[in-house]
Amino acid sequence: MLAYAFRRVLSAIPIALIAVTVCFFILRLAPGGPFDGERALPPTVLANLRAHYSLDQPLIMQYFIYVGRLLQGDLGPSMVIDGFRVADLIRIGFPFTLTLALYAFVIATAIGIVAGMLSAVYQNKWPDYVMVLVVMIGVVIPNFLNAALLQLVFGVHLGWLPAGGWVSGSVAHLVLPVTVLAWPHAARISRLMRGSMIEVLGSNYVRTARAKGLGERLVLARHAIKPALLPVVSYLGPGLSYLLTGSLAVEQIFGLPGIGKYFVTAALNRDYGIVLGTTILYMFIILALNLIVDLVYAWLDPKVRYR
């Protein structure tokens, strides 16, 4: 297990490096720059600005400077807002984005697994049909539309919950965003869980367990759940990264103070610093998540370890 973990960590390093390279060059090779304002800047000012951000160096040198800084844990400065660094943005916005995504993740995963299991156990009976319908809504309605509808019903007509905005420490302000974010995630998980659970319940060892006289609950708890969880576990990593990026949209819609708002604005202003820094941050998170998922997977399924 330890050797497998070690190998897996080693193989993640070149991927991270290549991904940083791809991001860097895509952004830099695109036309337009952070200083293309409405009015042209005086040439000397422009030259100084470019020198300040090392934009006057050859591209390949800029790349090495960037990677060098990155290795020291510096994600670089904003090129539009003076004195603002990606690190500041992360300090301000990231805790909120992470909180939102984690709430949604925990709630959705729990609901998704239970719903999928119930759906499989009561296959083709009414709990299954209700569940399938709710799941379908989650899969089909895009989050911005779902957000608008929920805001309208619970925020405006019923007035139970605030329709948007943020008051520090208020749980009520989080209910709708977390619901919007969690619904599709729960739906996908319950779909996966339902499928794999139905397959497991039809397998030979479950029949054996039933044949030796185990109660249905024990069969589920001891024999069925662990193998049925495999596809769900392999989805959790990508799932959490969907939630993290999806929260960009939800933050935008509900006017929440996460990274999302800054990212879209920065992209519109061609603020290379912020865009590159945020993208690389997300990429590292996704890679780390995939790594964790692989390790959990190896723990659940010994076959993987010895490949």
Partner: protein
């Protein structure tokens, strides 16, 4: 000099007899799949609705009394009014909502079609090449896919759209260029097993070049999973496009798409509900039907799951 021995006459007679006789017809795998699909009521109804939506979106505008960017100064922000021909009402600029919804549906469908074609083309060729050559080439190509997977997808689209301008063509290509990853993985997996089959060996023995083998012998055998996955990709692309338009990064005025319409309708849904209702209903119906069709195709083409 037809047959001295009379052999030819006998054979011709026999051939004629065979031609008249009803030979037992074989059923191809495709026919089997179609039969299974036609038994799936949800899928059949969905196909009907999608075809209807496509027809109405492309033919409808010729029968609607107003153009999608035409301003009716006498009715601004008005609810549905049948006398004036505003069957879905009008928006804040006095433009007919029905015409706009039709145009928006058209745009969303075009985006979906183009992006799906792009992603299927890239994904199939990339996956087939990677799987066919195997070894180091495969490892390298799949490592690249892993890298692309690690890039946060929607951030990447936003970057592309912002950097390359608000050109709809680039929007299509950008979305398609990102959706191909999963397709490449699926195709590679299938190719790995197909390339071990005897007919590939036969093709290689007869001197076919690798590219010809991939295009002529491997790709046609991938149609099942490709069709399924492509159908399931379309709704994802429509959502991605709507989302970009929602953020204001997609299709630009006066053109519109379902996402743009929803983003315009959502803030005013309390006072002008018809502005949200039309596009929302079309979008949800479309996505629901496409998902059902995708699921139906998967059940029909891949019977081992049942």
């Amino acid at each position: 000099m037809p047959g001295l021995t009379g052999k030819d006459t006998v054979l011709t007679d026999y051939a004629n007899k065979l031609a008249v006789l009803d030979a037992p017809k074989g059923r191809s795998l495709t026919q089997d799949a179609l039969r299974r699909l036609s038994k799936n009521k949800a899928a059949v109804v969905s196909i009907g609705i999608v075809v209807l939506i496509i027809l109405v979106a492309f033919i409808g505008p010729f029968f609607v009394p107003w153009g999608y960017s035409e301003v009716d100064w006498t009715s601004i922000r008005k609810p549905p009014d049948f006398d004036k021909g505003h069957y879905f009402g009008t928006d804040q600029n006095g433009r007919d909502m029905l015409a706009r919804v039709l145009q928006g549906t058209q745009m969303s469908l075009i985006v979906a079609a183009v992006a799906t074609v792009v992603s299927v083309t890239i994904g199939v060729i990339y996956g087939a090449v990677s799987g066919y050559f195997g070894g180091r080439v495969d490892a390298l190509m799949m490592r690249f896919v892993d890298v692309m997977y690690a890039l946060p997808y929607i951030l990447f689209v936003i970057i592309l759209v912002v950097m390359f301008g608000r050109n709809p063509v680039l929007l299509f290509v950008g979305i398609g260029a990102i959706e191909w990853l999963t397709m490449a993985r699926i195709v590679r997996g299938q190719t790995l097993s197909i390339k071990e089959k005897e007919f590939i060996e036969a093709a290689r023995a007869s001197g076919a070049k690798p590219f010809a083998i991939i295009m002529r012998h491997i790709v046609p055998n991938l149609s099942g999973p490709v069709v399924i996955y492509a159908t399931l990709t379309i709704p994802e692309i429509i959502i991605a496009e709507s989302f970009l338009s929602y953020l204001g990064l997609g299709v630009q005025e006066p053109q519109t798409s379902l996402g743009t319409l929803i983003s315009a309708g959502a803030p005013v849904a309390e006072v002008l509900p018809w502005m949200l209702l039309g596009p929302a209903v079309v979008l949800v119906t479309l996505l629901l039907c496409l998902t059902y069709i995708g699921d139906g195709l998967r059940d029909a083409l891949d019977p081992k799951d049942r």
